[in-house]
């Protein structure tokens, strides 16, 4: 238990160990710890941000869905009204066409009737003239009485 030069040697050794520890041991470990702490903090912040972004996106998607539903309803309503319109238009067109055909047919019938009447009149006149000719073979001159015959014909 003598105090001797070991004292100096131990002091030097102590200083060397402390120097080594301060130079090569402490900084890397504390740096790594600090960096990890920062990384964890960053990760937590990123997680928080992601969560809020997810919330926002969910809200937005709901909004879009809602909008789309509204639009779809609008489109359906429009289509329905358009369909009704088309049906109405078609109905009106068909009615018009029918009327037009009917009118055409009526006019044709009238024309036919007129024409048949004319033909009938001609024939009756011819028959009357022929009958009269037969009766009055001699007294009646066709050329002389043409005017008379014609007036009879028009009265028929």
């Amino acid at each position: 238990m003598n105090i001797n030069a070991t004292l100096l040697g131990q002091t030097i050794m102590f200083v060397m160990f402390v120097w080594f520890c301060m130079k090569f041991v402490w900084p890397p470990i504390t740096n790594a710890m600090g960096e990890r702490a920062k990384r964890i903090a960053d990760g937590l912040a990123a997680g928080e941000r992601g969560k809020s972004e997810l919330d926002l996106a969910t809200k937005r998607s709901l909004e879009i869905l809602h909008e789309a539903k509204q639009k779809a309803a609008e489109v359906i309503a429009q289509a329905e009204s358009r369909a009704a319109q088309i049906v109405d238009e078609a109905k009106a067109g068909a009615r018009e066409e029918g009327e037009r055909l009917l009118n055409g047919a009526k006019a044709e019938i009238e024309q036919e009737v007129f024409r048949a009447r004319e033909a009938l009149r001609d024939q009756v006149a011819a028959l009357a003239v022929a009958g009269a000719e037969k009766i009055l073979r001699h007294e009646v001159d066709a050329a002389k009485h043409a005017e008379l015959l014609k007036s009879i014909q028009s009265e028929l």
């Binding site: 238990m1 001797n4 100096l8 131990q10 050794m13 301060m22 041991v25 470990i29």
Partner: protein, 274 residues
């Protein structure tokens, strides 16, 4: 060397003698073979066992921690890094609790002190005769395996701390401020001699108490282990087991106290007026 030819007091004295290298009486340099020879060597002698064991333990500490430091990443830490970070965090908490200034030296200093002393104290728990028998087998007359039971080791550290205290006192307060602190309080400038005496004792008591507390505690612990070793072998465990378990506490506590007081002393050195 627990042979039957030794008496109890010889056995104890043998265990408490350092392996000393120095100037032998016959004029040559060599290892002292007896306690008297070691005493006569005077100041210029080296306790080889203290030197060797403390160096190995310090190297082991630095090797483990520098390995952890080299592999330190900010990613998921592995086992060794976990351990190193746990210790570092513990030291950092202690430093933050007691040290108010900003100094990058204090925390690594505290780590070195704590772990080195812890390992040196831990040597106390190796059964007292193991290393002795081993050392005698290779021809060494003495071998004291616990460096902290050698006052040279504890004073070596406390003087290192003391030099740092002086350095930072002067650096922070200036030479005038430091001298003023030693001479102008607590009684004002007219009580200068009394001030110098009180503050001087206060200053000197720091390294002395640091060294003697650790030395005394470990020396006493080692002594009790040696005394227990004198009992019959079948009875030893009844005392050595409880004492060893209790000693685990002492070992850690003494290392912690040395570290904490070092931090506190350096904190006082950094404070302008206290």
């Amino acid at each position: 060397m627990a042979s039957e030819t030794l008496t109890s007091s010889e056995y104890i004295r043998h265990h408490l003698q350092n392996l000393t290298f120095g100037h032998l009486p016959n004029g040559s340099w060599g290892v002292a073979q007896t306690a008297e020879q070691a005493r006569e060597m005077g100041f210029w002698a080296l306790n080889l066992d203290t030197f060797f064991v403390s160096f190995i333990l310090g190297a082991v500490f630095l090797f483990i921690f520098s390995k952890a430091a080299k592999g330190a990443t900010a990613g998921v830490p592995s086992g060794l890094q976990n351990f190193a970070e746990w210790v570092v965090e513990f030291i950092e908490t202690s430093v933050r609790g007691s040290f108010s200034g900003r100094n990058d030296l204090v925390a690594p200093l505290a780590l070195t002190i704590f772990f080195w002393i812890f390992l040196m104290n831990w040597m106390d728990l190796i059964p007292v005769d193991y290393i002795h028998v081993l050392a005698n087998a290779v021809g060494l007359p003495f071998f004291k395996s616990v460096p902290t039971t050698d006052p040279n080791a504890t004073f070596g550290m406390s003087i290192g701390v003391f030099l740092l205290v002086l350095y930072y006192s002067v650096k922070v307060k200036g030479l005038g401020g430091f001298i003023g602190e030693l001479t102008l309080q607590p009684f004002g400038k007219f009580g200068l001699p009394a001030n110098l005496f009180l503050e001087g004792v206060n200053l000197i008591s720091k390294p002395v108490s640091l060294a003697l507390r650790l030395f005394g505690n470990m020396y006493a612990g080692e002594m009790i282990f040696i005394l227990i070793a004198l009992l019959p072998f079948w009875l030893q465990w009844t005392l050595s087991l409880p004492w060893a378990i209790f000693h685990i506490l002492i070992v850690t506590l003494q290392a912690f106290i040395f570290m904490t007081l070092t931090i506190v002393y350096l904190d006082m050195a950094h404070q302008e007026h206290h």
